[in-house]
């Protein structure tokens, strides 16, 4: 069920992502000369997602698991991350709600303001494929990430807030309000080279009315637990 944003498989508009990917490629190209200041890490994770949709005075729910991978390169005070996640969200009710295959590609560039505070931008492209068609979102905006030391070696908190100030449905309505919070904790035990992140992700996407009918506004929420494993590879 993808409402008014349904389109016949348009071409993805991924200029922003390509730009960030270009930056990533540039940083990677610089990597051999960067010395000890650079750090790479790879991550896999799953998002047990609940997708809530409000459209035409009705609400719907989809649940499922999105699985993703991500890579991060840190150069001095910069952190560039790219990742993708995909999965299927199953509709809890029948028509007009239907299963949707979800794919999300994201890139972010952060700069460290202090040892545990980061500020940057993110750009994401979402693709929802359902029986009725394909819907694409492009979201972008600033990110604040706070990862405080909680007092034990390898234990840090996670407080990540992204505000999507630009973007919307491709060839459809724009955003009226959209943000994401990721709150949790990361644990990096000394005896294994893996960092485990457990967090709760909450996203709210408010889309403007697609037509003159005010009932055509569309509200969506994604929420659920994210479990990730990150393997750092310091060079």
């Amino acid at each position: 069920m993808n409402g008014p944003s349904r389109t016949p498989a348009p071409r993805p508009r991924a200029g922003g992502l390509l730009a960030l990917a270009g930056v990533a490629a540039g940083l990677l190209a610089l990597a051999p000369a960067a010395g000890a200041a650079q750090q790479f890490s790879g991550a896999v994770g799953s998002f047990d997602a609940h997708r809530l949709i409000y459209y035409h005075r009705s609400s719907y729910e989809q649940t499922g698991r999105l699985v993703g991978i991500a890579g991060t390169v840190r150069l001095w005070r910069l952190r560039l991350a790219v990742g993708t996640e995909r999965g299927t969200l199953s509709a809890s009710t029948a028509i007009p709600n239907s299963d949707a295959r979800v794919r999300s590609d994201a890139a972010s560039l952060l700069v460290a303001l202090s040892g545990d505070l980061w500020l940057g931008v993110t750009r994401e492209a979402w693709r929802f494929t359902a029986d009725a068609g394909v819907t694409r979102w492009v979201l972008g905006g600033p990110v604040v990430r706070y990862e405080p030391d909680l007092g034990l070696v390898g234990l840090r908190g996670i407080a990540d807030v992204s505000v999507f100030t630009v973007g919307g449905v491709r060839d459809g309505p724009g955003l009226s309000k959209a943000f994401r919070t990721v709150l949790g904790v990361s644990v990096h035990p000394a005896f294994i080279p893996v960092s485990i992140r457990l967090s709760h992700r909450f996203e709210r996407i408010d889309l403007r009315a697609a037509t003159a009918d005010p009932e055509s506004v569309r509200y969506e929420e994604f929420r659920g637990v994210v479990l990730e494993a990150t393997v750092p590879a310091r060079r």
């Binding site: 047990d48 609940h50 809530l52 949709i53 409000y54 609400s59 719907y60 729910e61 809890s92 405080p148 030391d149 909680l150 007092g151 034990l152 234990l155 908190g157 996670i158 407080a159 943000f179 919070t181 709150l183 949790g184 904790v185 644990v187 457990l198 967090s199 709760h200 909450f202 709210r204 408010d206 509200y219 929420e221 929420r223 659920g224 637990v225």
Partner: protein, 258 residues
Amino acid sequence: MNARAFLGTATLLAVAVTARAPGQQRPGAPLEVRIVVAADTVILPPSERLLLEARVTHAARVVVTVTPVGAPNAVVWRSDTVAAAPTAAFGWDLRTLEGEAVAAGRYALTLVASDSTGALAGASEVVMVNRLSPDTVPTPPPLTSAQLEPEIVVVGYSTPTAIFIGTAAVLVPSLLGRRELRGARTGDAGHWIVAGGVTVLGFVAFLTSRRLGFSAQNARRNAETRARRAELVAQVEAANTVARERAGYRIWREGGAP
């Protein structure tokens, strides 16, 4: 002039060295002079002075100079020129013309006299000048580690951040979620799981974490201790400086004492 220095004259072993000025003697009254200095005395500066007495056979103007033995042109001290009839007394404060304390060594005391006819006469004595050891106080030793408090200490580490994050994980979906979607929610307990996990880990960290931390209280105490020592050292050094300046001189005439 100090009374003690003058009293020292009671122990003078007067030695007269008489010289006649060549070609200046008058047949009836030749000018004869001698300089008298204590055979062995102790002078405590700055209040006391070494008494030098000039004795002449008839009225004359006299002046006394002090020079190191072997360096007659290096005048260490010179008296005023005064009239002696038949004696004149000088007090040497045992300082040089530049006002510095005279160094230990052998010094020649030279008296030159001239009478109204222009006749000259001179006499000299050699004295040994030695500085006595001052009565100083030892400087306080440097502070030891036992006297100072450790400024880096092991402290328990606590932060409310974990509780804030856990609380936010619980509240954000309710506070920031769409009102229209509240009815559609079916048992999303994820935020409770995460909030509980974060809070528990935060409490574990709160109860078990230990780390090195800076103790401002101990640093303040150490600063006070160092300041007290610095003040004491300054007082001792000032007292020792005064003691050195006031260290006595032992002066004896060659041939008059050891």
